[in-house]
């Protein structure tokens, strides 16, 4: 059975609708994610009482040495922002400041300070800005949660739209009266037969072809 004209029209519109919805969702996700990041940056204030964090107390970890110390230094330095660079971690920069900060990280880890104590030390001087991975607590959670929520909402919207479009198409089929359907089918068939006749129209063949 040939599909009705309206159904065909709906089917042609469907990919455009889906793309439009996906673009809207992407826009929403991006907007909310960036908004969350913007808020996080705007609220990048030191935690209460961190001003005296340069007195870190006793080391809470295990003193490291050798290859393990080098590896841990690299790992921790990857999460500390180089303050004189554009979006680079201390581990990835060769600036004097980054090299000095990396040396401090290494010394602190060698003395047995924990990762969190190392971060707290730099955070006391530079604020939360110095962390390349903001702590997942308080308002910062927006950065992690918002994209997931927005994606879920987006998928729900897409699913609902697809379902309603499918329902509408089925309803169109059911509502179409039989004479009209036959008329449409006859019209379509007539167009098709016209094209076939044109294609089969005898062509004069030149001798030798």
């Amino acid at each position: 059975m040939m599909p009705s004209a309206k159904k065909l029209q709906n089917m042609r519109r469907l990919p455009g609708l889906v793309v439009a919805r996906l673009l809207s969702i992407a826009l929403l996700s991006m907007g909310l994610s960036l908004m969350g990041a913007g808020l996080t940056t705007a609220q990048s204030q030191p935690p209460p009482g961190s001003g005296d964090a340069f007195v870190l107390g006793l080391p809470e970890g295990t003193p490291l040495s050798g290859r393990l110390l080098d590896e841990r230094t690299e790992e921790v330095s990857r999460d500390i922002r180089c303050p004189v660079c554009q979006g680079l971690a201390v581990a990835d920069s060769f600036s004097d400041t980054a090299v000095a900060m990396k040396a401090e990280v290494k010394q602190m880890l060698a003395e047995g300070y924990s990762d969190e104590q190392v971060f707290a030390y730099f955070e006391a001087s530079y604020g939360e800005f110095i962390r390349l991975n903001p702590t997942a607590e308080g308002f910062n959670m927006v950065v992690w949660i918002a994209p997931v929520i927005v994606l879920l909402i987006g998928f729900s919207i897409v699913a609902l739209r697809l379902r309603s479009a499918s329902k509408a198409a089925r309803a169109d089929d059911a509502d179409t009266s039989e004479p009209l359907r036959e008329q449409v089918e006859e019209d379509d068939l007539a167009d098709y037969l016209d094209r076939v006749r044109k294609d089969l129209k005898p062509t004069k063949l030149e001798p030798g072809t």
Binding site: R21, S24, L27, G38, D52, F54, P83
Partner: protein, 170 residues
């Protein structure tokens, strides 16, 4: 429906634009320091003559700690301003310079040529600079007589700024 979703997207983008506007309206020279209102980080450094300096030695009167270097052009601009201020506030304020990524010989040469405004402390490994959250040179910290940081100035100081900030500390 398309219009509704577009409107929702715009409503989400609008706050983002507001944040962008707020960010652009801020003075990029003014970087908030978490150390404002807190005790200044301790340091244990030596000056160009090998004399030891620490925070304890500064307490009892307001202090101006300036991180600078000879490779820093704004530091050269503000040098005569600091020389002048150190003379005007001679017995009232302690001016201290901390060298940021520079060679002591270059500092000696510049001080000899342009004048002295305070001890120039050598900071091996930039430990003091990191403890104070220094981003670059020049950066100046104003401490009250109890060693509390009351202001951080990014970029060169001016005579007016020095007078304005030091007046309430005296």
């Amino acid at each position: 429906m398309n219009r509704k979703i577009l409107l929702a997207g715009l409503l989400v983008i609008a706050p983002l634009l507001v944040f962008l506007g707020i960010g652009l309206s801020k003075n990029p020279m003014q970087i908030d320091s978490p150390l404002i209102g807190k005790p200044a980080p301790e340091f244990d450094l030596e000056d160009l003559d090998g004399q030891p300096w620490n925070l304890e030695r500064l307490q009892g009167r307001p202090a101006v700690i300036n991180f600078w270097a000879t490779w820093c052009q704004p530091c050269i601009w503000e040098h005569p301003i600091l020389v002048d201020a150190s003379r005007r506030y001679r017995d009232q304020v302690q001016f201290v310079g901390v060298i940021l990524h520079d060679e002591p010989d270059r500092i000696r040469a510049m001080v000899a040529q342009r004048g002295v405004w305070g001890p120039s402390l050598i900071d091996p490994g930039s430990t003091a600079a990191i403890a104070y959250g220094v981003y670059g040179a020049p950066e100046t910290y104003f401490l009250d007589k109890d060693g509390i940081i009351v202001h951080k100035q990014v970029g060169p100081v001016t005579p007016e700024l020095l007078d304005e900030l030091l007046a309430p500390l005296l």
